[in-house]
């Protein structure tokens, strides 16, 4: 056997196999991708799994609402108004005699669609704007942030309200799209400002300076070195964002400016029944609980995701 050189670093698996005296394969630690590690951590968190269970259930309910709902959510029956919860009507009926359970099942659709799509829209515009503004500073920063200030200078509900008044609320899919647009617009600056704030402090760090000294291009620095370091607040805010968007949608509906009837909406149902809560508390309780559980599901899900993706925080 030819003596192997001592220098030259660690023994590789292939070298070992070539050595006749070694009968077993060297045990190599299987490299796990950060994503797989994250997934493993995610699966260990009970609350995160509860969140996923809620979200998955809601998505299924939304998809199969037509099958699951025992009655039509919009057909009224004047002989059965204000029924207390019973076997026939598990959540009772409202002032038009409509089955509350069916309305809540169908309301899932609106909440999920508007909540998720409005956040994605806002994220796509807000994060790049904030990174560019914070990193380059100067006039570009001023220009971007003044536009953001302009949107931010409105209370989020006020702008959403005025936008909805301008869009004129309607029923159905078009109505849902109007609400989505209004919520997305008001939520863009939240991401922009958050990202800009983090970038302002991260870009002063030594490793960014080192990158610049090495001649790394700006887009690479932004996406490879700065973005990952401000990801934790972005993820926290995004997951909270879906939840918040669902709340804003419910609030607009509560003010009568969301998707219009007959499209079932939890916020609208809560508002419509508020005059009757003294005698029929359940009428406002169930839509409110539905909003609460949905938002809770997304919050738990997002929290688990955050803990999994950023183990430093755990």
């Amino acid at each position: 056997m030819k003596p192997r050189p001592i220098s030259g670093g660690s023994t590789r698996e292939t070298d070992l196999l070539a050595v006749p005296g070694v009968a077993w394969r060297a045990r190599v630690a299987s490299p796990e991708s950060p994503l797989a590690q994250g997934l493993r951590r995610f699966r260990r968190s009970t609350t995160a799994l509860v969140g996923v269970a809620i979200v998955v259930t809601l998505v299924l309910v939304a998809l199969f609402a037509d099958v699951l709902a025992p009655q039509s959510p919009i057909s009224s029956d004047q002989t059965r108004t204000f029924q207390s919860p019973s076997w026939d009507y598990p959540l009772g009926t409202d002032q038009l005699g409509r089955d509350m359970l069916s309305r809540i099942i169908h309301g899932t659709r609106l909440s999920l669609i508007v909540g998720v799509s409005s956040v994605l829209l806002a994220l796509l515009v807000g994060v790049p704007s904030g990174m560019i503004a914070g990193y380059y500073g100067g006039r570009l920063d001023s220009a971007i942030m003044r536009v953001m200030d302009l949107i931010l200078a409105f209370p989020i509900y006020l702008l959403a309200i005025i936008l909805m008044v301008v869009f004129t609320p309607t029923a159905g899919l078009i109505g849902a799209m109007k609400v989505t647009g209004a919520i997305a617009i008001v939520r863009i600056p939240i991401y922009a400002r958050l990202v800009r704030g983090s970038v302002l402090s991260i870009k002063e760090k030594e490793y960014v300076e080192a990158c610049r000294a090495l001649g790394v291009r700006d887009p690479w620095i932004l996406f490879r070195h700065i973005l990952p370091n401000c990801l934790a607040p972005i993820i926290v805010t995004t997951t909270l964002g879906i939840a918040t968007s669902i709340i804003v949608e419910a609030t607009l509906s509560f003010l009568g400016l969301g998707t219009q009837p007959p499209t079932p909406s939890w916020g609208w149902d809560l508002k419509a029944n508020i005059s009757f809560i003294q005698a029929n508390a359940w009428l406002s309780l169930f839509p409110g609980l539905a909003i609460f559980v949905t938002v809770l599901g997304f919050n738990l899900f997002g929290d688990g995701l955050r803990d999994a993706l950023d183990p430093r925080l755990k």
């Binding site: 200078a153 209370p155 008044v165 301008v166 704030g197 607040p233 003010l255 508020i274 938002v295 809770l296």
Partner: protein
Amino acid sequence: MHVYILKRLLHIVPTVLGITFVVFLMMQSVPGDPVVALLGDAYTQEDAVKIRHLYGLDRPIIVQYFIWLGKLVQGNWGTSILSGRPVLEDVLVRLPVTLELIVLSMGVALAIAVPAGIIGALRQNTWADYTATSVAMIGVSIPEFFIGVLLLLVFSFGLGGLLPSSGWVYLPGTCPSMVCGVSLWGNMQHVLMPALALGVGRAAILTRLLRTSMLEVIRTEYVTTARAKGLSERPIVLKHALKNALIPTITVMGLQIGFLIGGAIVVETLFAMPGLGTFGIDAIIARDYQQVQGFALITAFAFVTMNLLVDLTYTFLDPRIRYA
């Protein structure tokens, strides 16, 4: 620094003008006509033309905006078409109600969030942390109007009308007319549920955020250094950790104040309070241009000022952040 502050102060003017202009344009594009609503059944073509001329509604939109602006510079906020009352007068009457609501709910939020966030981070993964995070999680997930409804069910309808479900009793010194109810105790009874409804959700958000940032900060080397050099826990937490952890929290708090003024609309509607929120939404829905402009002006001004304060707080909390 002073130059920066001066520059930002000068920025307030165009931003506020921009906001009021955007609102003006948006309101003009809302379908419907306030003159029709004003005249009601007595609507005739001649009257409509007369009223439009009287309020300058027959002029081009840009001209209307600059007329409004010109009067504003002289301290005239315009007169409501529908009620015939001066806008500034209405705004000043309603401002204290909303201010009280917002200040109290922010107080509720901070009083809960700062201790809860710190304890959650320092006693991570203990029962204290789990309690804080679970309660915060529930608080984040309930919309303020639902908290309001729950409070109504318990305190107004459940406990034999312990707290009033709607209306308002003014704080001494803020009563707009001779006939309104004025009493500190009555005011507290009326403001308690709305302030809780508005503040609890904000508290939950701030708690979560502060806990997250605190966890990040107490793992940094300078905190370890501070511990290593024998500093006691209190100055480490309050001076070294909290100050840095507050940066993202302040950002979100600035945004939350915006949320609060908007949330005031919802809560004031639910509890039928005579504040700026109900004033604003009534004006928007009725298309009372002058009132909407007044409402937009005061909220816009409040916001831009708040954002400036938030940016200035950064430099105080983290001197590494510099503004040229």
